[in-house]
Symmetry: C2
Subunit: 392 residues, 2 copies
């Protein structure tokens, strides 16, 4: 086997820690708080089976199998515009919406359009590790902005904007992954103001907005932007199906949108049309409302159960009103990477918090997912976590 | 609107010329020889409608909607292994197959894994413009290897390998896009030998192999490789459906495969599972054989018609035994970019050949697609081409 020289962009990039943890989860009875998966009961395969049959047998059936436009399947752009208007309070033209293969691809394309190696991208500390990995592959200089219970620290953001002249800020405003924190309205306004002042793009990654179990929806950062600097990323992964891989970027700046389209052309040409049509038709049939009601009830009970069970453990549990995750800080001397091995022996898994920090550290933190376990499994899994901690 | 600074990788990249030509094709009655689309009659939406219903309603229905592995849907890897064994003569393990979102993505991931800005990639002159664009975005130094009717010139390849120490050679061995040329068996062996000698990866992009209307199949370059340097790319776009976006990379080198998987993780996480399952189930039901028989008969007639009609024009028509394209050289002083405007007014479109050359030039060449027009349209379209040439 010839010993290949790989591109430098992969130096120090080792693959997603979560995906590697998944490989440890084969043993029967393992309770996984590690993923970010929807509940199996939240996946409405019977309805989507009928929709798939109908759209492929219908008047657009052959068009769904033919090459499509990089800019996306028109009915999906229409339905996404309606979803944004009705559910997010964002009123945009169809032509400002680019369907992507998951919002994963939207983040990748934004980095491709904007970031030269060495350019600074500001990230929340902690942040979504999939996005951090994408940034590393583009050679970004990652600068962490600390967070509190109102979201990222605005003074620290402004200092970093001055010091680093960043190309981009990446933020998850609602029920952030991994902390569950929601950015306050005041800070959303400030972020739009600072973006305009210092000229950086804001990637507002908002897959969890619909998963609110208490409190009121807040306006998007996008809604405070007057300069075309905020790109709003949405996803149907948590609301309908992640395996279908349909997300979208909302882009006011036509030059930026054009770069994303060119980047997408040579990445996958277009998102598979059957995926786009499944989501478009699900929305067109007005099925989302009733489905959301069902999954919100289910997830709220799971979150409540997890919060109640964790109350008996010597951990600080961060409050959250939605999303899929609970973030915990253990005693300062606990190493959750080491603890994970014990937990796996005791039948429970999570993701150590350190993986979500661009600079590492924070070894005493961990992220728990509640959506993919039943209340009974949550009780049992937290008990296994407690047992493992007591073995320390 | 804030005036953004984009990443340097997009400097000089303006988007696919083909896709821009598509936008000119709106007028009714236009005959397009410009795309690379399968015939509408080759898209079996009724069968795929039933398959989609069945797989989503079946035992894997919920799993198809859940997050999947970056490495691909297991039944698709199995069926692709079988396809490669039975149809291509390549015997590989499932674990050496990475399903991708079209083979477009496989090319992108190979470049991501291997190419630093400034690294040389060797390409056929001419070559597929989508791949050329992807290479430009990665900052590759593109070096053209001239072709004759046996494929790329082996002596020129060796000289370029010595002069540039390339990271990769990109070649389309069967019914090349755009020329329709098939690489001879002797040259395939030589390419594998030179790759091993000079240590470059060969991306063997082979989407057209199944579309042979005359003559015998030749062994792949991959089959002559003993060093894990040849990556074989296949695609179901031309055989089943392009809109479904399912291709695959076959990678013997486990380190390289790992880089492709890491790259894919942060690009789209995984190919939409419904797309993967549609293709897997289509293959599992043994539907491909009869379908291929149907489309081969259809395309052979279309190719014959085009070759016959072109014989009356003052153009050199390159011979081909398969694929989707006919390549023409006009008189040396004709500019096919200018001619295209006349042709569009006369109701026919093609892609000027210059777009397929990394260094431009060759203004008297053009590429005609025959698969997406009926024999009647082909007669009419070639007549419109003739008329436009006579107006010169």
């Amino acid at each position: 086997m010839y010993d290949l020289q790989f591109a430098r962009r992969f130096d120090g990039v080792s693959g997603s820690a979560i995906r590697d943890i998944f490989k440890l989860l084969g043993q029967p009875g393992m309770i996984s708080f590690a993923g970010g998966n929807p509940a199996w009961d939240a996946l409405d395969n019977e309805t989507l089976s009928q929709i798939a049959r109908d759209v492929l047998a219908g008047p657009d059936g052959k068009a769904l199998l033919q090459y499509g436009a990089t800019e996306g399947w028109k009915p999906l752009r229409e339905q996404t515009a309606r979803f944004l208007r009705e559910e997010v309070g964002i009123d945009v033209a169809e032509s400002e919406i680019l369907p992507t293969t998951g919002s994963t691809q939207a983040v990748d394309l934004l980095l491709k359009a904007l970031v030269n190696p060495g350019d600074t991208v500001l990230v929340e500390g902690p942040s979504f590790l999939g996005s951090l990995q994408a940034m590393r592959i583009y050679g970004a200089n990652l600068v962490e902005i600390p967070m509190d219970e109102q979201g990222l620290d605005i003074d620290a953001l402004e200092r970093a904007a001055i010091a680093y002249r960043p190309k981009m800020l990446y933020t998850i405003p609602n029920f952030q992954n991994p902390t569950g924190v929601t950015l306050s309205t005041a800070r959303r306004k400030e972020i739009a103001r600072l973006a305009a002042r210092y000229g950086f793009v804001v990637a507002e990654d908002d897959p969890y907005r619909g998963l609110r179990y208490a409190g009121n929806h807040l306006p998007s950062i996008f809604s405070f932007d007057t300069e075309g600097l905020v790109v709003y990323l949405t996803s149907f992964s948590k609301l309908i199906s992640p395996g279908t891989r349909v997300g979208a970027a909302v882009v006011k700046n036509p030059q930026l949108l054009r770069k994303l389209v060119i980047g997408k052309q040579s990445t996958d040409l277009h998102t598979p049309l059957i995926s786009q049509a499944l989501v478009a038709e699900y929305l067109a049939r007005d099925l989302l409302g009733a489905h959301m009601e069902k999954i919100l009830g289910m997830y709220a009970r799971q979150l409540q159960t997890m919060q109640r069970e964790l109350a008996a453990l010597p951990v600080k549990v961060f409050p959250t009103q939605g999303g899929l995750f609970v973030w915990c800080a253990l005693k300062a001397d606990v190493d959750t990477v080491a603890l994970l091995q014990k937990c796996i022996r005791n039948g429970v898994a999570y993701v150590p918090g350190t993986h979500f920090y661009a600079n590492g550290g924070h070894l005493n933190t961990l992220r728990l997912n509640f959506s993919n376990s039943t209340p009974e499994q949550i009780v049992q899994g937290v008990a296994a976590l407690k047992k493992s901690m007591e073995e320390e």
